[in-house]
Point group: D3
Chain length 263, copies 6
Amino acid sequence: MKRLLITGAAGNLGKLARARLGHMADVLRLSDISDMDPAGPDEEVVPCDLGDEAAVYDLVKDCDAILHLGGVSVERSWDQIQRGNITGVYNLYEAARAHGMPRILFATSNHTIGYYRQDEVLNVTDPMKPDGLYGVSKCFGEAMASMYHSKFGQETALIRIGSCFEKPRDRRMLATWMSPDDFISLIECVFRAPMLGCPIIWGVSDNDLGWWNTDTAKLIGWRPKDNSEAFRAEIEATPCPPADAPQSVYQGGLFTAEPIHKD
Amino acid sequence: MKRLLITGAAGNLGKLARARLGHMADVLRLSDISDMDPAGPDEEVVPCDLGDEAAVYDLVKDCDAILHLGGVSVERSWDQIQRGNITGVYNLYEAARAHGMPRILFATSNHTIGYYRQDEVLNVTDPMKPDGLYGVSKCFGEAMASMYHSKFGQETALIRIGSCFEKPRDRRMLATWMSPDDFISLIECVFRAPMLGCPIIWGVSDNDLGWWNTDTAKLIGWRPKDNSEAFRAEIEATPCPPADAPQSVYQGGLFTAEPIHKD
Amino acid sequence: MKRLLITGAAGNLGKLARARLGHMADVLRLSDISDMDPAGPDEEVVPCDLGDEAAVYDLVKDCDAILHLGGVSVERSWDQIQRGNITGVYNLYEAARAHGMPRILFATSNHTIGYYRQDEVLNVTDPMKPDGLYGVSKCFGEAMASMYHSKFGQETALIRIGSCFEKPRDRRMLATWMSPDDFISLIECVFRAPMLGCPIIWGVSDNDLGWWNTDTAKLIGWRPKDNSEAFRAEIEATPCPPADAPQSVYQGGLFTAEPIHKD
Amino acid sequence: MKRLLITGAAGNLGKLARARLGHMADVLRLSDISDMDPAGPDEEVVPCDLGDEAAVYDLVKDCDAILHLGGVSVERSWDQIQRGNITGVYNLYEAARAHGMPRILFATSNHTIGYYRQDEVLNVTDPMKPDGLYGVSKCFGEAMASMYHSKFGQETALIRIGSCFEKPRDRRMLATWMSPDDFISLIECVFRAPMLGCPIIWGVSDNDLGWWNTDTAKLIGWRPKDNSEAFRAEIEATPCPPADAPQSVYQGGLFTAEPIHKD
Amino acid sequence: MKRLLITGAAGNLGKLARARLGHMADVLRLSDISDMDPAGPDEEVVPCDLGDEAAVYDLVKDCDAILHLGGVSVERSWDQIQRGNITGVYNLYEAARAHGMPRILFATSNHTIGYYRQDEVLNVTDPMKPDGLYGVSKCFGEAMASMYHSKFGQETALIRIGSCFEKPRDRRMLATWMSPDDFISLIECVFRAPMLGCPIIWGVSDNDLGWWNTDTAKLIGWRPKDNSEAFRAEIEATPCPPADAPQSVYQGGLFTAEPIHKD
Amino acid sequence: MKRLLITGAAGNLGKLARARLGHMADVLRLSDISDMDPAGPDEEVVPCDLGDEAAVYDLVKDCDAILHLGGVSVERSWDQIQRGNITGVYNLYEAARAHGMPRILFATSNHTIGYYRQDEVLNVTDPMKPDGLYGVSKCFGEAMASMYHSKFGQETALIRIGSCFEKPRDRRMLATWMSPDDFISLIECVFRAPMLGCPIIWGVSDNDLGWWNTDTAKLIGWRPKDNSEAFRAEIEATPCPPADAPQSVYQGGLFTAEPIHKD
C-alpha cells in the first residue's frame, strides 16, 4: 500500500495508529483539525477541517486506504457534531468516490446502541438505540457507508469501538475495552482482506465480560488477544457505582446521562 | 387537541392533511418553506425554514401534536438534504423538547431500506439499507427519534411511507401505495393512542402485492382499507419495465439509480 | 362427546360456557368451589375444591374433555393462588392421567407476559414476563401442561385469554378483548381437532388494535370474527389514562400495579 | 405471451391448467408422457419423456414461459422418481437455459417438509424435512432452481403445493387445500410479475386451518380467496382418524407412512 | 459483604459452597432442613423449613446476598416439591422483599428444558420443556424471579445448573458437567457485578460436548475453565447406553423416564 | 467396532482416512470406483460403482459404520454426478437400511451454500444456495439423509466439508480449511456418540477467518485444534485476487464460476 490516510491523527486513537502503522504503507498521510506533531520520515501532515468539502477532496487524493478516526468522539453541541460527523462523513465519502474508492475503516461506536441494557446480548443486526447526538451521528455514518456500498461498491469496515485506552478505566470498560494491540491487529485485518463488503464489527478485546456477540469479527479473521480481566483487581479497588446508575445499567454508560449540549 | 402543527404543508401530503384533518384539532398550524394558501378558518399559516433553529422553536410553541411532513422528499443535493432533513430534524426535536414534547408523527420512508430486493419480505427490525442521500437522512431521523424517546420520553410514530398518491403510478407502486384515505386514518390512529412509544410502521395500504410484514400497524390499531389491485388493469396497460431494471429489482425503485446530486 | 367437564362453572366464563356449549356433549359436568345454579337437563353439578386431590380425581372420572376455567382469575394472596392454581393444576393433570387423558383446554392468561410493553409485538415463543402471583401461577400451569404432554401425551390447548367480556371496558381491552362468540368458537375448534398437541394460542378477537402475533390460531382453524373497534367510540368517551400509567404502558395493564396480596 | 408450455398436461393439475389458461398465451404447448386429448385451437400437443434430454430440449424451444407440473407426483420407486423428477428437472433447466430462460413455475410440494408436525407453524426458510423419495426429489428441484437463479438468472416460482382438488378429501386437506380457482390466480400472478426471482410460496388457499406462514405470497401479489371451511361439515361426517395416526400428526400425512417403493 | 445466606447448606452443592465461599462475606449463614455440621468461625447455622413463611422471613433478615440452593433437587412427590420448591420460593422472595432485596443466585436446572433432544442447540430464550415435577417447579421459580424483578427490581441470577459433581458420572454428564471450581467462580461473578438484572445462564463448564449456547455467561464475565474431556476415557470405559435410551436422547436424561412420584 | 466401510477410498480424503483410522475398527473395508492400493492387514479392498445398486448392497453388508466419502467431489457433468452422487446416495441408504442401519458420516459440502457472500455469517439452518450441479447433488444427499432419519431412524452426520488439504492453498481456504488432524478427530467424534441424530456440522478447523457459526460441532463434542493462520504468510506471498473475483466474493469460490459441464 502506498499511502494510508489517517484522519483524527491528533486524537488518542490517531496517535496510536500513527505510532504503530508505519509498516502498512509507504506513506502515512496524517490529518486533523487540531495541531499535530511535524511529519516524520514517510509521513505527510495535512491539517484539514472535515466540514470543508474541497479540503477533504484534496486530502483523500492519492490515498489507497482511509482510517477514519476523525470528527467528534464525545457528546458535543449539534454544530460541532453536524460539522465533523455528519457533513464531514458526507465529504469523506464523496472524496473517496472521486478518488477510486479506497477502502475505509470507519470508527463508529457502541453509542449507536447505548440505550440497550447491560443484561442483554446484542448482535450487530439489532436495531440501533443511540444514546445522544454523538451516537445519532454514528448511526448516520453507518447508514452513509451502507448506501455508498450498495450504490457504488465502496467498501467500509464499520467498527463499533468500545473503549480503546491503555487499560480499562471503570467497571463498564471491563466489558467495552479494546486494547491498543487488538486495535492495531484489527486495522491490519481490515486492510488485508481481498473483499471486505460493509460489515459491522464490535471493536472490543477478548474480555470475559461483555454484551456483544462478536461473530462478525471472523469475517475479517480478527481474533483479539487481550482481556480486561488483567485489570479487574485495579478497577475493583475503586468505588462501585450503584446498580441503578447509568454506568451500571446501560451499555452506553454515562453518555445516556448527558444532556443535549447547547454550545 | 388544541393545535396540530403540520410541517411540509405546501407539499402533496401536507395539502392532503390540511384538507382532511381539520376535525382533529381546534387549530391547524400550517408551515412550509414554500408558499401556502392563505389561512382559512381555524388555521394558522406560519412560513418556516426548518434549518432555522429559532424559527422552528417558535413554530412548535403551543402545539399539542406535530405531523412532520416537512423537509426534502426526494433525492437532492447534500446541502438541501442537510438543511431540511438533518439539521431540520434536530431543530424540530429540540423545539419539541422545549415545549412539552408534543407527540410527533415523523414521515420517514421506504428509502431507508431501498436496496433490499423486491423478492424479500422485510420486518421493521431488519437493518437499514438506504438508497441515496434522502434515504440516509431518513435513517438519521429514525435514529434521532429513537434517542429522544430513550433519553427524554418523546413519543414518535416512525411511518415509513411507501407511495402516497391518489393512485399508484407504476408497477412498483402496486406494492408501495398508500391511499390518501388510509393515510388519514393512520394519522388519526397515531394521535389517539394513550401511549405510543417510538414504533416503526410501514405506511402502506392493504395491497395484495407487497414486501413488508405489517405487523406493527396493529400496535396503533391501524387497519388500512384500500388495495392497489383496483388500479392494476390501468397500470398494466403501460409498458412493463425489464426484470433487471431498478424499478423491478429494488424496493426503493428508481431512487437506487439516482446519482449523488451535486446541486 | 359424552361428557364435557367445565371447571370454574360459577364464574363469568364458566356461565358463558355452560349456556352455550350444551351441543358439544351429551352431558355437561359443571364444577366450582362457589355456588352454582342447579343442574338443568343434560347437566351434572359437582361442587369441588381444586385443591382437594381426591375430589378432583372423582370429578374428572368419565369425562371426555375438560374445559379448565377453574381456579383464581385475578391477583390474590399466595394461599389462594397456591391452592387453586398451583396444587389445583397438579391435581387436575393427575386426575386426567388416571382417567384416560381427556383433552384439556387450559385457560392461561396474558398475565404470563404482562410486563411486556404495549409497543411490542409478541410471539407465543417469547420468554414469559409474568406480572404478579396470578401470572406466575399461569406460567406454572403452562409448564405443567408441557410436561404432561412430553411425558404422557396428554393434549392441552394453552389459551392465553385476553379480556373476555360482553364488550371491552377500557382502552387496553380494545387490544385484549375476546368476544363471547369468539370464545365459544375457539372452544369448538380445540375439541374438534384430530390432533392437538400442546400449542399456545392467544385468546383474542380480530381486533384492529393488538400486540400479539396470532399465527398459532390457525393450528386449530380458529378465525375470530369480532372486532373491538365496534366499541371504540363508547370507550373513547371515557377519560384517557396518562401515557405513563400502567394500563397504558404494559400489556398486563393494572395487574402490574398490584401489590403482593397478603390475605 | 406467445407460447406457454405446460408439462404434466395429462395429470389433474395439467388438465385444469389446460382448461383455464388459454387466455394467458397465444398458444398452449401441452406435454406429458401419458396420453393427452388431441390439440384444440391454439394448442400444441407434444408428448415427451422428461428423462429424455434431447426431447426436452425440443419441447422448451420457442416457449415464453413454463408451467412445470410434470414428473411423478406421488411416492414411487426410485427409478421412476429419478427419471421424472431428478433427471427430468435437470433436463428442463438445461433446455430453458438454451432457449432464453423462460420463466418457470415449478410445482414443488409440502412433502419437502412433510415430517414437521401439524402443531408447528412453518416459514419457507425452515429446513427441509422430506417425507419420502418424492419429497426428496422436490428438495432436489428446489435446489436446482436456486442454483440456476444464482448462476444464470433463471427465474422460478417454487410453489409448494398443498392439495389441489375440487374440494378437500380428508381432515388434513382442510389445512392443505388449494382450490382450482386459487391455483389459476396463482399462476397468473407468477407470470405477470416484472421481476420474480426464485421465491418459495405455499400453494394453499385462505383456509382457516393451516400450518404455514404465507407471507411470501404477497411477493407476487397473490391473495387466495377460497377457504376449506366450506367443506368442513362434509369432511367431519367421515370417520376421524386417531390422534396418533400419520394423517393427524404430520404435515405430510400418509406419505410419512409410505415405504420405499421397490418397483 | 457482611452476610451471605446459603440455603440447602446440607446438600452437595451447599457443602461445596460452605467450604469455598468464606472469603466472600464476613459471615456465612447456613441453612437447611436437614442436619448440618456445627457452625465454625464466621458461620451461623440456622435450620429452616423453606415451607415455613415466618422462619424464612427470619432467615433472610440481615443478609446481603442469598445463594439459594435449597429445596428438592431431584424428582420427588408433589407434596415435597410443592413445599420446598414452590411455596419455598414464594417465601424466599417475600422475605427478600421485606429485607432490602439482597441479590439472589437461584439454582434452577436443565430439567426446565429436559425434553429437548441432545441433537439440538438451545438458547436461554427457547421455550421451556420441563421433564417432571421437579423441572416444572424450576420453571415456576424462574417465573417468580422474573416477576419480582419486573415489579420490585429484585435481582436474581437464574443459573440452570447442569451436573455439578467432582467429575462427570456418565456420558450425558460429559455435556452437562460443571466442575466445582467453575461453580465457585460463577458464584463470585454473580455477586460482584454492579448490576445483575435477572439473566438466565447455563451452569456448565467449558466442555467440548454440549447443547447450550452459553453466550449469556459473558453478561457476568464468567468464563468457565474446566472441560469434561479430562474424564472421557474413564467414562467411556463404562457400558454405552443404547442410542434410543432416555439418557442418550434427551437433554434431561433419565429424569424424562421418571414417573410421577406419589409419595 | 468390527468393520468400518470407507467409500471413496482412492481419493485424497479416503487415503487419509485409510491411513489414520485403523484403530477405530477391526477391519477397514475400502471401496472406490478407481484403483486402490492392495489390502494391508485388517483391510478389505472392495471395488464398487456406487451407481450399481446390487454392488452397493453387498458392499455395505456386515459393516458397523460408514464413512461416505465416495462419489464425485468437484463440478462434473450431470451423468457423472447423477450416477455417483444422486443414485449412488440412494443406493447407499437403501443398502444401509437393509443391513441394520449402520451410522453414516456423509461428506457433504460448503458448495450447498456456495452462493452466499464471504461477508455473511451462516448458520446450518440457513436456506441452501448451491453453486453448481455438485452442490445441488449434496443438497439432495442432505435431504435423503434427513428423510431416512425421520422415516427409519437412520443416523447420519452431515459434515459440510470446507477444504481438507495438508494446508490451505489460497486466500479463500484460510476460511474454509480443515486440517487432516481435525478431520480425523471429527470422524472419531461422530462414531463415538451414543446418539447422533442427523445434525449438520461445518467441517472446518478453528481458523481465525471464517463465515460459519460452528455451534453444532459441540453436539458431538468436536473442538478442532488447527488454525489456518499458520499458513497466512505463505498464502499472502501469492498474488491477491481482485475484490470482485468469484474466489473473493462467494463462499463457494471458483465453483460459482464453473459452467454446466456437458461431458
